[in-house]
């Protein structure tokens, strides 16, 4: 029933305004799935904590995927975990976004060469919107990643992609 399922072929003024409103709403309330994997999860927690305060951007952790809008893949994804992450991703209702946080999630990081049990990049399993580099990224870097994601959402449209 999500409104984004419907696509409009002509881009008139009304749609553009509605676009703006919807994008604004989505980008200012990105609820993350409260879900930590490894070292980066600690930095993610630090980002939610008082000093950096994720809540300023309207980001609050929801523990169930059904109510979340974004996953922050915070840490090493092992092969055993990858299937779980895929399932979690599928459980999130559309529209959904993914921030890949840290080297491990980007491409396996320090484990890319000898890590026989490490997935070499979360983008092999689910599509990633923003890659935040760092090992682990500073909280500010994660916030910057979120700003990048917001920028991306701002440019989305209800109109058909071909127009």
């Amino acid at each position: 029933m999500g409104l984004l399922d419907k696509e409009f072929s002509d881009g008139n003024v009304v749609i553009a305004k509605v676009d703006d409103l919807f994008n604004w709403a989505r980008l200012s309330s990105v609820w993350q799935l409260g879900f930590g994997l490894a070292c980066c999860a600690i930095e993610m927690m630090a980002t939610s904590a008082s000093h950096y305060d994720f809540d300023r951007f309207g980001v609050i952790p929801r523990n169930t995927p059904r109510q979340a809008d974004a996953i922050i893949i915070s840490g090493t994804v092992t092969l055993k975990m990858a299937t779980r992450i895929k399932r979690l991703y599928e459980q999130i209702p559309d529209p959904k976004y993914i921030i890949s946080m840290g080297s491990c999630a980007n491409c396996g990081g320090p484990y890319w060469e000898h890590g026989y049990h490490v997935l070499k990049g979360i983008d092999r399993v689910i599509p990633v919107d923003v890659y935040v580099p760092g090992c682990p990224p500073r909280p500010e870097a994660l916030l910057e990643g979120l700003l990048k994601l917001q920028e991306k959402i701002r440019n989305e449209s209800l109109r058909k992609k071909t127009v």
Binding site: S50, Y52, N106, C107, P133, P139, A141, K148
Partner: protein, 192 residues
């Protein structure tokens, strides 16, 4: 019975103490750093994105060997005797064209093990941390300042030079006796 009343009292009292503390905090100023608007200065030793001052790089490959995750990729071509590559800022003479100096920042683990071995201190960690990307390929940083054509040219120059040298040596070798051959094979191995 006494225990019962004590429990009740203790329950209410500790709740009130807790409420007093949180109420006090309601009016203490927040410690939040409002990131995009306010950026706190980072300490000078901070370890974030790697940077290579390629003008100072002599292509010695030390950093790449020190890296535990092998995220630094260096290719070099020897310079010709006539070419002057200049010197680094601490006076070392450069002898190699650095045709490729790629750091895959996505793999980097920010351990700073690559920094101390560098003889010219040209690789170091900066305080830049805001460089998230939409595409992962953009996270491969290319520091070599030679263009691709230039790199190809240098390579071919060197090969030409090598071939000429080889040819002249062969002429010399033909003139003199045979025992020089093992040296030649060694050189060939090196070229590979």
């Amino acid at each position: 019975m006494k225990q019962y009343l004590k429990n009740t009292w203790y329950g209410i009292w500790t709740v009130l103490i807790g409420m007093k503390i949180t109420f006090k905090h309601l009016f203490t100023p927040a410690v939040t750093i409002q990131y995009p608007d306010v950026k706190v200065p980072l300490p000078e030793r901070v370890r974030n994105r790697l940077y290579v001052n390629i003008d100072d790089c002599i292509g010695c490959d030390q950093c790449s060997r020190a890296c535990p995750v092998n995220c630094i990729e260096i290719e070099t071509v020897k310079s010709l005797p006539g070419e002057n590559l200049g010197t680094t800022s601490n006076g070392k003479k450069k002898a190699l064209w650095v045709t490729k100096f790629n750091i895959d920042i996505a793999k980097c683990c920010y351990c700073q093990l690559c920094v101390p071995p560098c003889p010219t201190e040209c690789i170091y960690m900066t305080d830049v941390y805001e460089f998230s990307e939409f595409e992962r390929d953009n996270l491969v940083y290319k520091f070599a300042n030679l263009t691709e054509e230039e790199a190809v040219e240098k390579k071919s120059n060197y090969e030409k030079f090598q071939a000429e040298k080889e040819a002249s040596r062969q002429v010399g070798a033909a003139a003199s006796a045979k025992p020089e051959t093992p040296v030649k094979t060694q050189q060939e191995n090196k070229n590979e």
